[in-house]
Amino acid sequence: MGPIATTISRLYGTRGWIALGAFAAVLFIVFPVFSLLVPPSSPFHVSQYWVTLIGKIMCYAIVALAMDLVWGYAGILSLGHGLFFALGGYAMGMYLMRQIGREGQYQADLPDFMVFLDWKEYPWHWWGTEHFWYAMLLVVVVPGLLAYVFGYFAFRSRVKGVYFSIITQALTFAAMLLFFRNATGFGGNNGFTDFKRILGFTIATPETRMALFAITGATLIGALLLGRWLVTSRFGRVLMAIRDAEQRVAFCGYNTVNYKLFIWTLSAVLCGIAGALYVPQVGIINPSEMSPANSIEIAIWVAVGGRGTLAGAIVGAGVVNGAKSFFTQAFPEYWLYVLGLAFILVTLFMPHGLVGILRKWRATT
């Protein structure tokens, strides 16, 4: 077998690849056909609501994957991943705001909220955001750089476990307060919304939405394969060893800080990309994405699916968010009970999540 074939068989077995292929077929063939080609009158038509919802959940699944990489494989529980997600979203949002042009409420060159604040020009951090590729660079660099600097100091001074979780929570809380200020220049409370175009395409047409949907799906699959490739490599083994006994790994001569820092920064970058895909589909980004509650919810997606499995993270994000959109519409007052109980029951009775239950069931039959 050639090196590529070895890699392919290393990532997933035959069944795994078939499942992944089926998933890809649904995303790239079934959804576009039933949404764009089948007329709305047909019962098989997939409406915009479903395209947006599934697109949104796939963004969350990327975040869950990123979370699983640091929590499931390196044992670092972050309570601040919502911050990286929101930063990527804001970077994309800045580009989208500039694409509105003069079509805002005030028909001015500046975005509405700046007109409202009586600003005459863009603040410095908006420089260059009218160029798509520069904005995409920001999507990757800003969360990555912040994670790198934060992680460098935290891991170097051996802040770990719960301490690390609490300071990441403080970090996202501080950022939320910062972004809530109007003077910060990101639209305060309301954030960014009312987007019109992306790369010249009108954002609300079914075709644009389907394109965004497909890009998100491709990113998700790409992130899954990348993650899988990482955790099955030598790097992944060291990472898991660090999770289980960091001191021993360090005594074996590995610089554990670098390993943790790499996976931590990569995870933040993935979150940023997910945020950038999320904003044009959902059409709004505001500081509440950075609230500590949002970030901690990411952990439960991973826990429900089963941590340290990657596929479980995607399943968990799908199940929890699917339940969320069902409950918040049908029984809004019960959603917090369900979510709260999920936190309690999963930690008490399902330490390996849904994937763990499936494996156990398969092992007994």
């Binding site: 529980l77 100091f153 935290a154 001074s157 051996r158 802040v159 476990g161 719960v162 301490y163 979780s165 609490i166 300071i167 929570q169 403080a170 970090l171 809380f173 501080a174 307060l177 910062l178 809530f180 200020r181 500590p292 509650a293 901690i296 952990a299 439960i300 826990a303 007052e333 019960y334 917090l336 009970y337 979510l339 709260g340 109980l341 999920a342 936190f343 309690i344 999963v346 930690t347 008490l348 330490p351």
Partner: protein, 530 residues
């Protein structure tokens, strides 16, 4: 009977009710400027008897019939100048409509007339009303009142009002004199007034064009600020201690559950909330069944809040947390789930809106220490209460058998168990104690802030910061950390605004923990190694 009384009053009052007929006529028939001038004439006479006319004018009860000005109430009418009853009511009448400007002037004049009232409270209320904005016309009246005022609280207010009015108009000399007089004041309002004179508009021009006036204002402002600076510092210190004591109360329970037991309890904030809602329920019970003892409902609410929160805490420990000892990250997630469920439960029972918890009367108001420093009673009480809880907790941990057990179990669980300490029961009791103290905090916080389902969420990040900053397992560290963070927050706030101050403090803690993960005060000995 009332009509007879009214007539009698009229007859008796008649000799003094000789208002200036010309002025009254102008007030009714003149144009806007003439009416203002007429009002000023009438007010300058300072005749308290004209209050009736002004009140009627403001209420729209003044009508004209030919040359005569009448005050019409229902079917009765009296002549505004002579006070004589007019019968029969003339057929042809026209309403005198007061526009907004006149209304404002009338309101101001009515307040000014009350300045001469023999009742102190009425004078004080009138002075306060005028302090928010007086019309030029009342200046002579204010001066007259100032001359005969003896009350030390009211007189400076009158001086300020008079000076404000003189500043607005008048000659340069009189304005400068007024500014000089303001320099003797020690009221924060004076400072605002003087600062307004020195402000620049957008193009960089001064609002006040006269340079001499500006120089005088600058000098007076410096004098006033010199007097205010001590008060401001004192106020800031008090605000720091006050915030510190609130943080301490919120964090003390956590110092036990997290600091001593190592349980990450994300539902700590919700235990505080439960304490606050218990206070609300006790308050309602008192209002319904014992309104005469309402002032003392807190005496009942404190133990109730402690008991309810402690009970909830102990149940949680037995049902959930017990199974997760030694797995801090799982504990964190499970307790977060508990907090979500508790929030929703409170929403279901009490509604999503904030509920009203009223201060007992002995807690409202405050002590005036300096002209610009008022210490509100509820804040003072909370500082005292925090100190009390701290001392009580310290006694409990160091002077009782339970405290000994708790310390023993946290230092070496196996050894404690070997010598016969029931460690499982000690865990439950210790967690209950931490939860109960959170309940006490909730009872205290209900007296100074809103009580709603999200109450606890606002404190959870802060209280973890306090415990982590102070050093886990250290009561003294928690106290220092709470006070330090309280001061830091308030001083930064005065300098940079509330949000930036909060962000700065959070960032500071994040950096601090990275430099010194063991907190301000590290435990020495074996416990520090784990």
């Amino acid at each position: 009977m009332r009509t007879v009384f009214f007539l009698l009053m009229l007859v008796l009052a008649r000799p003094c009710l000789a208002l200036d007929a010309a002025a009254v006529g102008k007030l009714a028939f003149g144009d806007a400027d003439e009416r203002s001038a007429a009002l000023a004439v009438l007010v300058a006479e300072g005749d308290p008897k004209m209050v009736a006319l002004l009140e009627a004018l403001a209420a729209g009860d003044v009508q004209t019939a030919g040359e005569r000005v009448l005050i019409v109430k229902g079917d009765e009418a009296i002549d505004a100048v002579t006070g004589a009853k007019v019968t029969p009511l003339p057929k042809e009448r026209e309403d005198v409509v007061a526009n907004n400007r006149l209304r404002r002037e009338i309101e101001s004049a009515l307040s000014a007339l009350k300045l001469l009232s023999p009742d102190r409270a009425a004078r004080l209320a009138a002075a306060q009303a005028l302090a928010t904005g007086a019309e030029d016309a009342v200046l002579p009246l204010v001066k007259k009142a100032m001359a005969q005022e003896t009350d030390p609280a009211i007189k400076p207010m009158l001086e300020l009002i008079a000076a404000t009015l003189e500043l607005k108009g008048g000659t340069k000399e009189s304005r400068i004199a007024a500014i000089r007089r303001l320099g003797d004041s020690n009221s924060p309002n004076t400072k605002t007034l003087l600062m307004a004179l020195l402000e620049k508009d957008k193009e960089g021009r001064f609002a006040e064009t006269d340079e001499d006036v500006r120089a005088a204002a600058q000098a007076s402002l410096r004098a006033v600020e010199g007097k205010l600076v001590w008060g401001e510092m004192g106020g800031l210190l008090f605000a720091g201690v006050s915030l510190g004591s609130i943080l301490l109360l919120a964090a003390l329970g956590l110092a036990i559950t997290y600091g001593l037991m190592g349980v990450i309890n994300m539902a700590h904030g919700e235990l505080i909330m439960i304490g606050a809602y218990t206070t609300y329920v006790v308050q309602n019970l008192f209002r319904a069944h014992a309104p005469q003892a309402f002032d003392w409902y807190l005496v009942c609410a404190l133990p109730a809040a402690f008991a309810v929160s402690a009970l909830v805490g102990m149940v949680l420990e037995r049902v959930v947390i017990r199974w997760l000892y030694g797995r801090p990250l799982e504990t964190l997630l499970a307790t977060w789930g508990i907090s979500l469920a508790l929030i929703q439960m409170v929403r279901t029972i009490f509604g999503a809106q904030n509920v009203g918890v009223e201060n007992p009367s002995w807690m409202s108001g405050g002590i005036q220490v300096l002209s610009n420093v008022v210490l509100p009673w509820n804040r003072v009480m909370i500082i005292a209460f925090a100190a009390l809880v701290l001392v009580g907790m310290w006694m409990l941990l160091t002077r009782t058998r339970l405290g000994l057990f708790v310390r023993g179990v946290t230092q070496n669980r196996e050894m404690a168990s070997c010598v016969g300490v029931p460690t499982a029961r000690v865990d439950t009791l210790a967690f209950g104690l931490g939860a109960g103290i959170a309940g006490l905090a909730g009872c205290a916080l209900s007296q100074i802030g809103n009580v709603g389902p999200d109450l606890g969420q606002g404190y959870i990040v802060d209280s973890f910061m306090v415990v982590v900053f102070g050093g886990v397992g250290q009561l003294a560290g928690t106290v220092y950390a709470a006070l330090t963070l309280g001061f830091a927050n308030k001083f930064l706030e005065a300098w940079s605004g509330a949000v930036i101050a909060k962000i700065a403090v959070l960032v500071f803690i994040i950096i601090f923990i990275q430099r010194r993960p063991q907190g301000l005060f590290a435990l020495k000995g074996r416990a520090a190694e784990t």
